[in-house]
Amino acid sequence: MRRESLIILALDALDFSMVKRYDCKSLMQLEYGETDISEFKLARTVVLWASFLTGKNMEAEIPVETQWKFRLKPEETFFHFFNSYNAIDVPAFSLKDESHAEERRLLKAYFEDEAAVEEYDEVVWRNHEENKRDFFAAMGKYDLVMGYFNLADAIGHLSFGIPEKMETVYLELERIAHEVKSSVDDFILIVSDHGMRPVGRYGDHSKKGFYSANMRIGLNLPKITSFYDLIRRRA
């Protein structure tokens, strides 16, 4: 019999109230709720995922200037407890430098009036599709598959106040969760690093994240570091 494996859907900026608003049933699994990241001064993506992977608050160790290049060794993370794993585009571990650098270039260009939102969105969606392909190709082949998707974060930064766009984003993430749930019986953990709050048409990181699991794990307003032991025990 095949050993039960673990699937982690790492959904950047997935916001609790947005999941509810768009009634994303597959994202809201048997147990779900908010996470509390108020211990962090700034809700920085790389810092939060590094803390998730290591079970330690990594804020002091990751300077903002070099954060996108920051890489943890497998033995510093829960990955090394697993016989086999695949980490797709995971910040602080296996981030796809080029794709994200291109997104950041366009983000900067947008604020310098040199790129339209549509150009930026196009690149974000293209990168998302690539991650989706990689993720579904890896499923079922490893003890642990962790797939990172920054769609809600990247689109949200420039368009969180535009409901039609955010609905498309949340329905897409819901479809991914649905497909995962309907194709495997494994333990599925869905986690976001932080949520989002509107600033006019834009979106800023909030200090509340989201989590859900397809079995009871008995957490109540967990921190992002609270999942480390739980994941290790599944190895």
Partner: protein, 267 residues
């Protein structure tokens, strides 16, 4: 007492002279807009009537006909050593804003300037940016070191205290010099009036509209205005609540977001 415009001018001229003294191969960028024409005039004044270094005009091929006419007329009258730089290959291959605004700007402006800097070996460029014109420029300095990719090397940025502009010791690709950084849009127009500077006719209202800042034809839109003379423009600017780069209702949120994304390390 020295009036405001005289004080602005004095500081700008001292920055331009300092740049000429510190760098071997200096050039000034000139779009023909009001700011860069004022800055060019200051270069002329700083050296007693003759701009003693090359004047670069980046021609994207999509500029207004009035810009080309104005450029050639002034270049002739002021005796400029004008370099017109253009990416002909890209234009022939069909580059246009329809291929993406960023791509178009990068190919027809940024790359052209990069290649020119390399070819001519310029170590410093004078640019007419102003702090009040755009949030992203608000923190700029008078002497601003850049790397090959045009990124601001702010970690090498020397402090500019007591009006001393020092070259950083570290290696850098070229220095950006911003002599009118401390001017406002209104200052520029008042200076245009005082010095009787030539102005591109596109700035004056026709049929209830005028251009407030000039770029390429497909990407620049006029603002509603009836200001048909310099005096009327000055009067309009004293009362307007529309920002210079108009059409941006979400300025505050945009500025907040830009700052926040910077602090989060996205930019």
């Amino acid at each position: 007492m020295e009036d405001r415009l005289a004080a602005l001018e004095r500081r700008s001229i001292s920055i331009i002279r300092e740049a000429k003294a510190q760098f071997k191969n200096l050039a000034v960028l000139w779009s023909t807009g009001k700011d860069s024409t004022a800055s060019l005039w200051l270069c002329k004044k700083a050296f007693f009537g003759k701009v003693p270094f090359p004047v670069i005009h980046i021609d994207t091929g999509y500029k207004f006909p009035e810009i080309y006419e104005f450029r050639d007329k002034i270049a002739d009258e002021w005796g400029l050593d004008l370099i017109v730089a253009k990416n002909r290959e890209a234009l022939e291959a069909g580059m246009s804003p329809e291929k993406g605004k960023l791509k178009c700007c990068t190919t027809l402006k940024t790359d052209v300037l990069k290649n020119l800097i390399k070819k001519e070996g310029f170590d410093a460029l004078i640019l007419a940016i102003r702090r009040d014109e755009h949030g992203i420029r608000a923190k700029e300095r008078y002497f601003s070191p850049r790397d090959e990719e045009f990124r601001w090397r702010y970690t090498d940025q020397p402090a500019e205290m007591w009006d001393l502009y020092v070259k950083p010791s570290e290696d850098f690709s070229h220095m950006r010099v911003h002599p009118i950084l401390h001017w406002t849009e209104l200052d520029v127009w008042e200076y245009v009036k005082r010095e009787n500077l030539p102005v591109n006719p596109l700035y004056f209202a026709r049929n209830g509209k005028r251009y407030r800042s000039l770029g390429c034809m497909p990407c620049t839109v006029p603002i509603p205005s009836n200001a048909g003379t310099i005096d009327e423009i000055i009067e309009e600017l004293k009362t307007t609540k529309i920002p210079e780069r108009a059409g941006r209702a979400q300025d505050k949120e945009r500025a907040y977001m830009m700052q926040k994304l910077r602090s989060l390390g996205y930019m």
